[in-house]
Every structure is written in C-alpha cells, then in structure tokens.
C-alpha cells in the first residue's frame, strides 16, 4: 500500500471562513458606531460586551465541556473590581479593567480546583453556588461595594480625553472585542484549543494522550473568568452604575442561553448569541414577559431541532476534502 503522496490541505478552510465572518462583523460594527444615533451605539456596546462574555463562556463550556451556571459572578467581579479600583484608588479605567480581569482570573483558577473533582450536575450546582455567593458577598460588603444601594462608576477617560460618550466607548469595546476574538481563534486552532476539545470528548482518553487534565481545566476556568470579567469592567464603564441585583442567577442562565442559541463551541456562535441576546428584548420593548418567553422557546427549539445553534444556519454544508 503506497500512500506516500500527501494532498494539499483545503487551505485551512474553516478558519478563512471565520475570518470573513469576523471581518464582516467588524465592518458592520464600525458602520453602526460611526453613523447611527446614540441609542444604537449603546446597543452595539452591549453586544460587544456580551460577545466577550459569550467567548469566555464558550472557552469553558463550549470547548472544554465544563458547564457553568454562575458566570454572572465573574461578570460582577469584573464590574465591581473595575469600579472600586477607579473610585477608591483613582486607577484609570484602561488599567482598572485589566486589573479586574487579572483578579477574576485568580478567582477563576481557585474555583477550578474544587471543580476538578466534580462532574456534570455537581459542577453545575457548584458554579451556581459560586454565582449566588458572589452576588451575596457584593450585597453584604457594604463598605466596599455600597451594598444594595449600588455604586457609581467614575467617568472613564483616556489620557485626559473623556470616553464616557457611547460612541467613544464603542471604539474601546470594539478594539477589545477584536483582540479577544483574535485570541480566541488562535486558541481554538492551537494546542490548548485541541486539548480542551479533547477534554470535552473524554477526560480519560485525553489523559492517555498525555494531556494533563487538571492543568487544562484550570486554564479553561482562568481564561473564561478573564474574558467575562473584562466584559464586566467595560459594562460598568458603559452603564456607569452597578448594583448587585442585576448580577443574579437569571443572568448566568442567560449567558448560557446566549452561547447555546448562537451555537456552542464556536467563536462565531458567541458573537451571534450576543447579538440575539441584546436584540430580542429591544425588539419586544413594552412586552414585559415576551423576551423571557422567546429566549425560553428558542433554547428549547435549538436544543431539540437545531443543535448547532444559529451559526449552523450560516455554515456552508461540510464537504469532504478530496
């Protein structure tokens, strides 16, 4: 049997299609940022922020298969930490946010440790507990966080120039999202991404190929926490006022809903899910219960009928390479 000829690979087809998608997204984003009114820009900012959350959650749940029902906790940590660093110690927002991210990363890594021993449902409950505990801590620690009354976020400024305006903030968010998306694509097509995907398939098989399961779970949690917390920090600077009530279990569940509806396990899905998450309540303003119903039904429909999420509608049919 002579199979020494190697055919040229279909030029990394998957990633070039992704690059087109990302490019399109960026162009659309820029157009809206430049040419629309304040309210659309605000929505756009929210999409950008939640897209970062979605990517973070995708790394943990989509790639590595670790279900988290507590990601609102990391989002809250990012928001509050940025606000506190800025307000208490006058740290400029562009430093406060990454610092908050780093802080959340450490917490994420710590959370991973008990998570190593827990599987599936138990892990889900433990992450649920994390989210609840975080919300409660923020609520109780009045001296630092302002408790139930919430906290004002100082005006963000970049080298003396105020960035509080939505359209200025849009550039910051767009840049962060672009960097985050780039990094996530890189991750997916390299060693860590493959290891995480293998982890999701079978931890045992992954270990037998030489993957240190524990290490990668910690990496997944840490990265996920970082993305989500940075998003939280941006969120704080956009809404300029945070209070613990918004970072509840429902938010965590909505985060999961985002990536499921968008298409779990892909960065494209994360972006689509975030857009869906922001667009639906907007489309149904005035109908209090309608968004919940739509999200709920969408989730069920996606899981039963369209497991690949919205992104699978856009994906060209897979062809076998020849």
């Amino acid at each position: 049997m002579n199979h020494t000829t190697t055919t040229a690979l279909p030029a990394r087809a998957k990633s070039s299609r992704d690059q087109w998608f990302l490019g399109g997204f960026v162009v659309l984003y820029a157009l809206i940022a430049l040419f629309s009114g304040g309210y659309f820009v605000y929505l756009l900012n929210l999409i950008g922020i939640f897209a970062l959350v979605a990517i973070g959650l995708t790394i943990l749940t989509g790639f590595s298969g670790q279900t988290s029902l507590g990601h609102a906790g990391f989002f809250a940590i990012g928001a509050y930490a940025s606000a506190i660093f800025a307000q208490r110690w006058g740290v400029p927002f562009w430093l406060a946010i990454p610092l908050a991210g780093a802080f959340a990363t450490v917490i994420g890594a710590l959370i991973a440790l008990p998570a190593l021993r827990l599987k599936d449902l138990y892990l889900a409950i433990a992450t649920l507990g994390f989210g609840i505990v975080t919300q409660k801590v923020i609520f109780e620690w009045r001296t630092v966080t302002g408790g139930g009354g919430g906290m004002q976020v100082p005006m963000p400024s970049l080298f003396g120039l105020s960035v509080a305006d939505g359209s200025r903030m849009a550039w910051v968010i767009a840049a962060t999202l672009a960097a985050g998306t780039w990094a996530a694509f890189r991750l997916a097509s390299s060693r860590t991404g493959r290891a995480l995907s293998m982890l999701r398939e079978s931890e045992t098989a992954a270990a037998c190929i030489g993957i240190r399961v524990a290490r990668y779970k910690v990496v997944a949690f840490a990265l996920s926490a970082f993305y989500t917390a940075v998003a939280g920090g941006l969120y704080a600077n956009v809404v300029r006022y945070v209070n613990p009530e918004s970072f509840d279990v429902n938010m965590s569940i909505m985060f999961l809903a985002m990536i499921v509806i968008g298409g779990m396990g892909s960065v494209r899905g994360a972006l689509l899910g975030a857009a869906f998450y922001v667009a639906v309540p907007e489309a149904f303003r005035g109908f209090k219960d309608a968004p919940g119903l739509i999200f709920g039904i969408s989730l069920m429909l996606v899981v039963i009928l369209l497991p690949g999420g919205l992104t699978s509608l856009l994906r060209a049919r897979r062809k076998a390479a020849s």
Binding site: T67, P114, L121, E140, K288, G296, V303, P307
Partner: protein, 290 residues
C-alpha cells in the same frame, strides 16, 4: 431557642426536601436534572389557586384536579421536550429545562400578572400546637408530614406496582427493558408525572407561607437542588435528609453566625461537602465503563 430554630429549620428543610424529591425522582428515573421543576410547580399551584379562588371550587375538587393537571404537565413536558433528547448528552436536556423554566415563568406572568396573591392553606384554621415545648404552626407540621408521606407513597409505587417496577427497570437499562416489553417512553412519562405532582404539593405547601406570585419557586428550586446534592442524589430518603439538614443548618447559621449571609454560607458548606465527598453524603457515584 435552639429547639425553635431546629423545628423551624425542619419545616423549611422539608420544603427543600419536597422539591429535592421531585428533582431526584426524575433524575434517578430518567437521568435528567429538571431545572424547570420550580416553575412547573408554580404553574400548577397557580392553576390550583385559580380553581379555588376564581372559580370558588372546594378543596375536594380543586386538589385532585390540580394533581391531574400536574401529572399531565409532567407527561407533556417529557413527551414533547425530553423524549426527543433521549440519547444526546445530558447537558442538552439541562439546557432544554432551563429554557422551559424561562418560558413557563413568562407565560405565568402573562396569564396571572405580577401581583402577589394570598393563598389560603387548607389547615389555616387549625391552631398552633406545642411540641417539645416549642410552638409549631400547623403549616410547618403539615409540610413535614406531607413530605414523609410523599416519600412513602413514591417508594411504594416504585417497589410494589407494576408500573413502578417497570420504571426502575427502564431507568437501569433501556435496551434490556425494551426487550422485556417495557415501554420506556411510558415509564419515563410516569416518572415526570410523579415529579410534577411532587412539585405541585410543594407549591401548595409553600404558597400560604411565602405568598403566591410568579417568583415563588425560583429560590426554592435552587435550595431544593442544593439539599438534594448534599444528600447525594441517589435515594429519596437521602434527599429528604439532605433537605432537612440544609434547612436546619441555614436556620442555625442565621441565628448564630449571620442573619443575612446564612444562605451564602450554606452554599459554601455544600461546595465543601462536595469536595470531600463528590457524590454527596449518601450518594453513590455511578461508575461508567471506559
């Protein structure tokens, strides 16, 4: 003082236990953690309330009707949503139930609005009685008694009726059960019906205490799950003990450590227990063949 805390804890704990029972029943039988359990219970409870108040039916009619509704609800959910997902990873069913949770909450809001309603307990007119020198409200006593009764009833059904035994066979090994002529789909529908009824009972017991509105069950569901996890998701008595334990610990922590932080502390406690015993206090981890 401590005795009062403990009795109070047992009362709230038995509520957690009831939800936990509903969840574990379905989990053990069909391998799906039902995150919509709370909203399903809330919905059925609202149906009961509507029959009692809007249509002024008596308890003797409303209760069986509500139970029938709950059972039907369980069957419909299982057949329409869960059954198509048989065979795919459990996370899909989890997500589906989370979606159902949201949808039911919204629909309930649409039908019954967001008012808070007073739900009169069937034992509202009974006096408070004393036990071990502590005042026990009839509601608390009813809750504890009903939880125990439900466990007994469900255990009897599972052990001594044909349908129950068929269900246990189906949950152990679907392929073999089918070969033996057991309808797996029907058995699973039965499990979900039972779970939904258990939820309804929990709702009816809780509503008089916490007042009936669409947000009634959400916090309870989480505690129910937590208590069940603590007791080790494998047996109904284990879940019962776990729920009670959670209720008592919460009360004691609330009084002796911190009034507002006790819920969070309870969760931390559960996470610690899980680290030490990943399958809960009484749990047994299902081993899987590689």
């Amino acid at each position: 003082m401590t005795a009062e805390l403990i009795i109070g804890g047992l009362a709230s704990g038995s509520l957690y236990a009831l939800i936990g029972i509903a969840v574990v029943l379905v989990l053990q039988a069909t391998d799906v953690p039902n995150f919509a359990q709370g909203e399903m219970a809330m919905f059925s409870t609202f149906v009961a309330y509507t029959m009692l108040n809007t249509y002024s039916l008596s308890w003797w009619i409303a209760l069986p009707a509500a139970i029938a509704f709950a059972a039907l609800q369980g069957i419909v959910v299982q057949q329409l949503i869960i059954r198509p997902l048989l065979g795919s990873p459990t996370i899909n069913a989890v997500i589906a139930t989370l979606g159902l949770n949201m949808a039911l909450h919204s629909v309930a809001g649409m039908i019954w609005g967001n008012l808070t309603n007073v739900f009169t307990s069937p034992v509202a007119d009974l006096p408070v009685f004393r036990l071990f020198g502590v005042n026990v409200s009839p509601d608390s006593a009813l809750t504890i008694l009903v939880s125990v009764a439900m466990i007994i009833v469900f255990t009897l059904i599972l052990r001594h009726t044909r349908a129950g035994i068929a269900l246990r066979a189906a949950s152990q090994d679907q392929a073999v059960a089918k070969l033996m002529g057991i309808s797996v789909s029907r058995s699973f529908a039965l499990a979900w019906a039972m779970g939904s009824v258990a939820g309804l009972v929990a709702g009816i017991l809780v509503a008089p205490i916490l007042f009936l509105d669409v947000n009634l069950m959400a916090p309870l569901l989480i505690k129910g799950f937590a208590g069940a996890v603590l007791g080790g998701l494998s047996s109904l008595p284990g879940v019962f003990v776990g729920g009670l334990l959670l209720g008592v610990v919460e009360n004691l922590l609330g009084a002796y450590v911190s009034g507002t932080f006790n819920e969070a502390l309870s969760f931390i406690l559960i996470i610690v227990v899980l680290i030490v015993a990943p399958a809960g206090i009484f749990g047994r981890v299902k081993s899987t063949k590689v």
